[in-house]
Amino acid sequence: MIDIKDLRKSFDDHEVLKGINLHINPQEVVVIIGPSGSGKSTLLRCMNMLEIPTSGRVVVDGIELTGEANINKARAEIGMVFQRFNLFPHMTVLENIVLAPMKVRKISREEAEQTAKRLLAQVGLADKAAAYPPQLSGGQQQRVAIARALAMNPKVMLFDEPTSALDPEMVKEVLDVMKSLVNKGMTMAIVTHEMGFAREVGDRLLFVDEGQIIEQGPPKEVFDHPKEERTKLFFSKIL
């Protein structure tokens, strides 16, 4: 589903990604962890071209994003959830969700609203359709953001530290929604600091440091028997 070859990204003189190779299979859940500044968010943001790679290839669902592809069309198939939600504060929750399906997919308002209501029910916020984002808690906003991304019926979902900006008591409600997506077979790439969640739902764990994938494998194996020194050092600091 996602195929990344020798991906490099520099900001000015600083090379953030130093040759990443990564293949994500359909329905696979890949969890990316690593210290801050390791490049894990940049890696995720290269998967939908929010960051333009300096070199290398990124192919998502058969479309080479680093080529001549229509980037807007490709992005419609790639859902993204941000750390700070990025809901549109001047629109109601319902409007937030129906906007892109109507403008990008050109589907009718009735159909878009039906889908939106179904998705809101799915994330447990059926009663918040008419609310404005600033009226919601962080956890509720993030669940709306997930529903908004799902409304495009994406083939892949990218999560960029989806619970890092939340109060502790709201982390679970967001993780639960993400779990339900995993159970539905969604292909997902998740950057997170939630190690318990990573262990529970991840098919594969990626440890990234200094712009490189240091170690990867089934989460249990990486957590319990890390092979690389840097992975061990990282775990010793956080676990």
Partner: protein, 218 residues
């Protein structure tokens, strides 16, 4: 010194007519300025280099030269190029409109840049184009932020529009001049003119404050 109240009362209807024209040029100019300002402001921050360069030249030129000179350029110099007389009303609204367009462009630019980058990223990540995201997400939010500075621009332009009196366009200031030429009542007329301007600018600032309050609640 004596203050001739009768002169004030007699002249008032004429001055009010002039005030009406002042409001008219100001409103048309701000309308024109809004359209120009929105496009120039967006061009200024676009990643298309020639576009942002042209927008910068536009704003620098119009903000860096006096409005009075711009009025002269349009009224006296432009006819030499067109080989045709320019109508004073046309000159007035064009000069004021493109001038305020430059200031409004900067207001728009600041208003747009004040919107969190995450809004553009969210729109783009959903597959919307840059233009769609600007139109449905960024600009509606920027509009709320720029209402107070737009109100100030409206007030500034209302006062600056007095400059078009120099090309003989009969707005409030010019009417005052004409009445004084006839009656020699400098004190009465200039005071009246000042008071009328003051009432208009106060009314606008009240209106802006009201709109700001209403927009905040939605």
């Amino acid at each position: 010194m004596n203050f001739n109240m009768d002169l004030v009362i007699q002249s008032f209807p004429l001055l009010l007519l002039g005030a009406g024209i002042t409001v008219q040029i100001t409103a048309i100019s701000v309308g024109l300025g809004l359209i120009i300002g929105m496009f120039v402001g967006i061009a200024r921050i676009s990643h298309v280099k020639p576009l942002s360069f042209l927008a910068a030249v536009y704003t620098d030129f119009l903000r860096g030269t006096p409005l009075l000179v711009q009025i002269f350029l349009i009224y006296f110099a432009l006819p030499l190029i067109l080989d045709q007389r320019v109508d004073p009303f046309f000159a007035a609204i064009t000069a004021c409109g493109i001038n305020s367009g430059a200031y409004i462009a900067e207001i728009f630019r600041a208003g747009i840049q004040a919107i969190d980058d995450g809004q553009m990223e969210a729109g783009r990540s959903l597959g919307m184009t840059w233009v769609q995201t600007m139109r449905y997400i960024i600009i509606p939010q920027a509009f709320k932020n720029i209402i107070p500075p737009l109100g100030n621009e409206f007030i500034a332009l209302l006062k600056d529009s007095s400059l078009v009196s120099v090309i003989g366009f009969e707005e409030l200031t010019r009417r005052g001049q004409l009445i004084i030429a006839r009656t020699y009542g400098s004190l009465e007329i200039w005071l009246s003119v000042a008071v009328i301007y003051l009432v208009m600018t106060l009314a606008i600032s009240r209106l802006v404050a009201y709109m700001e309050k209403r927009l905040k609640t939605t």
